[in-house]
C-alpha cells in the first residue's frame, strides 16, 4: 500500500462555481483535448463511431434537477478528481503508481508502474478515476501538471485546460492551502463546500453553491380596477396622456 506525505507545501486545486456553470461541456472537451496529447496521452476512445461510444475522460459534467415546481432548479455539476488530502485511491495502490505530490498536493498516477488493477477506482468515492481499456492503465485529472509549471507557455496560460477554456468563468485554479489566495478568499466569501465532506477524504477542490436568486426588490404596482380604455375622464389612456402632456411641457 502506498503512503501519503504528512503535509504538502501547497494545496493546488480547483474552485467550481455552481452558480454560473451553464453545463456547456467546454471544461470536459478542453480537458480531453489537452490530456489526450499530454501527460496522460492518449485518452483512448472505444467504438467512437459505433453503437456504444465510450472513452477516458478526466472531467465529466452531470446535469440534473433539484426540487419541484417553483422551488425546482437545474444544476450543472462538473466532476473530476478533487485531489483529496487523504485520498483512499493512493493508500490503496499496491504498486505506488498512485501518489500524492509533496510539493503541491496533486494526486497523480505513474503510468509506468500502474498495473491497471483498478483498486483505486473502487476506493474513490467520487468516481473520478478513469480506466483506459486500450492503454491498460488508470487515468485521472492531473490538474494539467504539464501546463501549470510549463515555461514554454505564456505565464497566464499556466492553468489547467478546463480553467483556460471555461467561457462563464465558473472555474478557478489556485493554492487552497494559502488562506490569502484568491481562490481561498472566494471560497470563504461564498461558503464553498467539500463534496461528500462526511466521508473524510478532505477534498482540496471546492464547490461554490448557487447564490440566492437576485431579486430587484421592487413591489409591483397593485392591479387597479381601472376604467375601460376608451371611457371618459379617468381612463388609463387619458391619465397617461395627461401625464405625458404635463411632463413634456415642463
Amino acid at each position: 500500500m502506498t503512503t501519503l506525505p504528512q503535509t504538502t507545501e501547497k494545496k493546488l486545486g480547483l474552485v467550481i462555481d455552481l452558480d454560473i456553470c451553464v453545463g456547456c461541456q467546454a471544461c470536459a472537451t478542453s480537458c480531453k483535448e489537452w490530456n489526450t496529447g499530454g501527460y496522460s496521452a492518449p485518452l483512448s476512445d472505444h467504438d467512437p463511431y459505433g453503437g456504444d461510444p465510450s472513452g477516458a475522460w478526466l472531467n465529466r459534467i452531470h446535469s440534473y434537477e433539484l426540487g419541484e415546481g417553483a422551488a425546482g432548479r437545474t444544476v450543472h455539476f462538473p466532476r473530476s478528481c478533487l485531489h483529496c488530502e487523504e485520498p483512499a485511491c493512493v493508500t490503496v495502490c499496491p504498486t505506488g503508481a498512485s501518489y500524492k505530490r509533496e510539493e503541491d498536493g496533486i494526486v497523480l498516477v505513474n503510468p509506468d508502474t500502474c498495473i491497471g488493477c483498478k483498486l483505486c477506482s473502487w476506493a474513490c468515492p467520487y468516481g473520478a478515476r478513469e480506466y483506459d481499456y486500450d492503454d491498460g492503465v488508470m487515468k485521472k485529472c492531473t490538474l494539467c501538471v504539464d501546463r501549470i509549471y510549463n515555461e514554454t507557455l505564456e505565464e497566464e496560460d499556466r492553468v489547467p485546460a478546463c480553467v483556460r477554456a471555461c467561457p462563464t468563468g465558473a472555474r478557478a485554479f489556485g493554492d487552497l492551502g494559502d488562506p490569502d489566495s484568491e481562490v481561498s478568499k472566494n471560497v470563504a466569501a461564498r461558503e464553498g463546500f467539500n463534496l461528500l465532506e462526511e466521508f473524510g477524504y478532505k477534498p482540496t477542490n471546492k464547490y461554490l453553491p448557487p447564490r440566492m436568486k437576485t431579486s430587484a426588490h421592487v413591489s409591483p404596482e397593485p392591479a387597479r380596477k381601472s376604467a375601460p380604455v376608451s371611457a371618459g375622464n379617468g381612463s388609463m389612456v387619458e391619465k397617461l396622456f395627461a401625464w405625458a402632456d404635463q411632463k413634456l411641457s415642463r
Binding site: 503512503t3 452558480d19 454560473i20 451553464v22 453545463g23 456547456c24 461541456q25 467546454a26 472537451t29 478542453s30 483535448e33 489537452w34 496529447g37 499530454g38 501527460y39 496521452a41 492518449p42 485518452l43 483512448s44 476512445d45 472505444h46 467504438d47 467512437p48 459505433g50 453503437g51 472513452g55 446535469s63 415546481g69 425546482g72 432548479r73 437545474t74 504498486t95 501518489y99 505530490r101 486500450d134 492503454d135 504539464d146 510549463n150 515555461e151 507557455l153 497566464e156 485546460a161 477554456a165 471555461c166 467561457p167 465558473a170 447564490r211 436568486k213 437576485t214 431579486s215 421592487v218 409591483p220 392591479a223 380604455v229 397617461l240 396622456f241 405625458a244 402632456d245 413634456l248 411641457s249
Partner: protein, 950 residues
Amino acid sequence: MNKKPEIELNTPAGDEVKQTTCYMCACRCGINVHIKDGKVRYIDGNRNHPVNKGVLCGKGSAGIMQHYSPARLRAPMKRVGPRGSGEFEEISWDEALDIATGWLSKPRNTDPHKLAFFTGRDQSQSLTGFWAMQYGTPNFAAHGGFCSVNMAAGGLYTFGGAFWEFGDPDWEHTKYFMLFGVAEDHASNPIKIGIGKLKKRGAKVVSVNPVRTGYNAIADEWVGIRPGTDGLFVGALIHELFRNQTVDLDYLVRYTNAPWLVIQDKGAADDGLFARGENGNPLVWDSNTGDFGDGTSADISPSLTGSRKLADGRTARPVFELMAERYLGDEYSPEAVAEQTGLKAEDIRSIAAELADVAFKQEVVIDQPWTDWAGRKHDKMIGRPISMHAMRGISAHSNGFQTCRMIHILQILLGSIDCPGGFRYKPPYPKQAPPWLRPHGKEDQVKANVPLGGPHLGFPLGPEHLLIDEECASRIDKGFTWDAPMSAHGLMHMVINNAATKDPYGIEVLFMYMANMAWNSSMNVKGTIDHLTAKDENGNYMIPKIIYSDAYYSEMVPYADLILPDTTYLERFDCISLLDRPISEADMAADSIRYPVVEPDRDVRGFQEVLIDLGARLGLPAFTNKDGSPKYPGGYSDYMVNHERAPGIGPLAGWRGKDGEKSVRGEVNPNQIEKYIENGSFFAHHLKPEQAYFKHANQSYLDWAADMGFREDKKPTIFQLYCEPVQAFRLAAQGHGDRQPPETHRARIEKYFDPLPMWYPPFEEDMIDQAKYPLHAITQRPMHMYHSWGSQNAWLRQITAANRLYVHTSVAAGINAKDDDWVWLTSHQGRVKCQIKVMEGVNPHTVWTWNAIGKRKGAWGLDDDAPETNQGFLLNHLISELLPEGGGGYRYSNSDPITGQAAWYDLRVSIEKAEDTGATEPMFEPLKHGSQPASPTKLAYGKEFKRGKK
C-alpha cells in the same frame, strides 16, 4: 516504493501556433491552433480576440475530432446510382468543374431563373450573393429564412439593428438582463462570458423560455412561458409600463417616431400613413409654435398627444396615442394574458415594476461628453441599464415578426437602446430603419448573360418593391411575393418543394452549399426527399440537376448528382466581412479571416475557391478579365485582397492602402492577408469614446459610419415604433393602389400587416383541433453540438448520442410513462416514435428535445447501430412545410406571413404511450456511402505526441 517519477513539465504544446477563426458554430471565435508534427495537437481561444477573449466552448475545444472526422468527403464525386442511393464514383476536379460549368452555362445563356443557388450556414454571403448577382439569377438566399429572419427583419424595420449579430447587451453596465427564447446556442461564448459577468456582479438575469436548461438554468428568474405567447407577455409588460406611467418620454421624443402624426381616414388610400409636409417629411405637432412641424427637425418641441386637424380637414393622431391605446387595451392586461401564457398576473406585474425601477431609478451615468446628430452637446452619457436578447424561441413562430417588434418597442419605451447598460449596436449597425437596400430580381431585371442590377435581398417599403410580375413570383422561393412580402432573407425552406412541383416554375439546376436539406434542415423530411427524387412522366427528375458542396457525408449528399467536396475549417481561407456578417463588437468594427493552418490530405477544395473558379469558367464579368482570363487566379485569398465592391471598399477592412495604414476604406494592399495572420487573423477598428453610445443619433459616429460606407448618409436612425411599410401592404389589401394582393391573400394581409405590433395565435394551432393536439413541441440546441455537425465528432457524441423527448412530470403521469419508455408523438403531419425523459423544468403544455441529434443510417460516418440512428429522432418529420388547407383552398407555407420565416416552433402534438419498444420511427432506408472509408473502431488520438512512447 514512493520514489517520485520524473515528470516532463516543460513540453511545448506544439511545434508552432497558428491563429485562425473557429467554425464549430456561427460565433467565429479566435483560436490558437497548436501544430505538432504537422497534426493538430490542441486548440485554445485567442485572448486578444474580440469575440471570445480567450475562452472556448465545448464545441470549439473538440475541434480536433471535427477536423479528423471520418465523414469528411475525400474527392469530387458524380452520382452513378439513382438519386438517394448513395452510389457515387470519385472523379477529378477537372471533370467535376467541366460538368458543373456545362450544367450552369445553359440557364445563364437562356434563362437565369433556371438556376436556384442557396447556401446554408456559410459565412461568405458577400461572395456567394455577389456571384449569384453576376450570374444573373434572382434565386439566391442563405439560410436566414429558416433561421431567424423574423428577428433580423423585426429589428431592422424598427431600429436599424437586431439581436444576435447586430448588437449585444452592454455586459459591463447592464443591471437587468432579459433573455427571450434563447436555446443553448446563438450566441455561444459571448453570452456565456456576459452572463458570467452579470452573475458575478449580482445583476438580475430573467430568462423567458418554456425549458429550464443551459442559460435558463442559472437565471435568477425563470419564466416558463407557453410557446408562441411571448407577444402576450411582452404586451402585458408594455401595458403595465403605460399604466404606471413609467416610460421614457424624452427618449421617445428625441429618437422615435412616437410624435409623428398618422392620418386617420378610414377607407382612404393613405389611411394609417404618416401625414407629411411639402418636403415629404412626416409632420408632428410643435407645442412651441402651436402648429405643425417637421418631424425630422431638431428645433421643435413635438407633442406626443392630441388629435390634430390637417390642412385638408382630416384628422391625424400621434403614434404615441395609437400605441398607448393598443397596449392599454384590456386584452394586454396581465390578468387577460395569464391563462394563455401560463404565467401569473402578479409575476408579470412584478417584472414590469422591476424593469421600471432599474430603468428610471438606477440609471448609469458615464462621464463622457458627446454631440448628437443636431449638434447639441451633452456632457454625460446617461443610460437605462436594461438589456435584452432574443433568438429562435421568438423567431421561429408565425407571429415572430410582430413579437420581435414588440420586444424592441419594450426596449425603446424603457429608453434602453444603445445607451449605457442597454442594448448596444455593433458596427456597421445601426442602419437606417429599415435599411435602404431594396430587393432585386423583378422580371425585367433578369436577362440571359446579364448580371442582376443589385443585391437579391432587401427591405421592401410597400407593394411596389415586390418581385412579382402580374401575380407570378420572380423567385423560386416566392420571396417578396404576397405570400411573404417582407422576406428579407428569402425562404430557403421552400425551394425544393417549389422547384419539384414547378410552382411558380421549374428549374434546371439546384446548387446548394452546406445545408442538410434532405434531413434536419427541412420540415417534412420524407416529403422533401420525395421532391428531391420526383420524376416527370418521361422518367426525368423534376429537378434535373443538383450540385452540392459540403465538407462531410451528410444526409443531403446522396441526393445530389455532383458533389464538390469542401475542406474543414482548418484547411481553408474564409473572409468574415463587414460587407456581410462581421465579428464587430459594440466598441469596434471588426472582421476576420480563416487561412489554411494544416494542408488537406484529401482531394478537396474550399467551396469559395471553387465558386471563384466557376465564375471565371462561366465568364461572369466580375470574375474574368477582358481577355477572358480568370480575374482571381489565386483563388479566394486573391479575391479577398483584390476585389473592390466600391472604390477602396473590399471584403476586408483592415490594413488597406498601399502601406497598410488605412482602415475600412483604402486602396488594395497586396500584403493584407499577411497582416491579418500577424494579428491573429482579425482586424478591429476601435471607436472613439465619444462614439460609444447613442450611435443612432451620435454625430461623431454617424459621420464616421457614413464615410466608411456603412450608412447612406449622416442622418440619424429614427426608431419606427409605428412601421409605415407594413401599413402600405395593408392598404393594398384594403383595395388601394395599382398592385393589390390576389383575393386568396387579401384578408390575411389585411389582418396580419398591422403597423403596430400585436399578438395573434400561431397559425398551426389556430388551424388544427387543439383538443386533439394539446401539446406544443419544440427543440433546444445542446451547447456542445451545432445543428447536424456534432454527431460525427467522436468526443461530442460521447456526451449526447441519442436524444430523448423531455416531458413534464404531469404529462408523463397522464400517460403512465416513466424515463426511457417509448411514446408516439403525433401531429397533423405525421408521427414519430421516441423515448421520454421526465422533468420538472418545462412548461407543462410543452414537450421538447435536442435538435438534430437523430441521424439517418449511412450518413456522417456512423455505424448502423449508432444510437443517433436507432434511438435518436427528429421532430422535423412532424412539421409540415405547408399549413393545413384554410379557407379558399390555398395552402400557405408554414411561415410567418410577413417575413416568410419558417415556423418550426408552431408545432402541436399529442402523446401516447407506445406498447412496443425497439427503435425510433420513421426509420429510413440506410444510405450507401460511395467510397467513404470505414470509420475506425478505436481512437488513441495523441499517442503519437507522447515523447518516448511508442
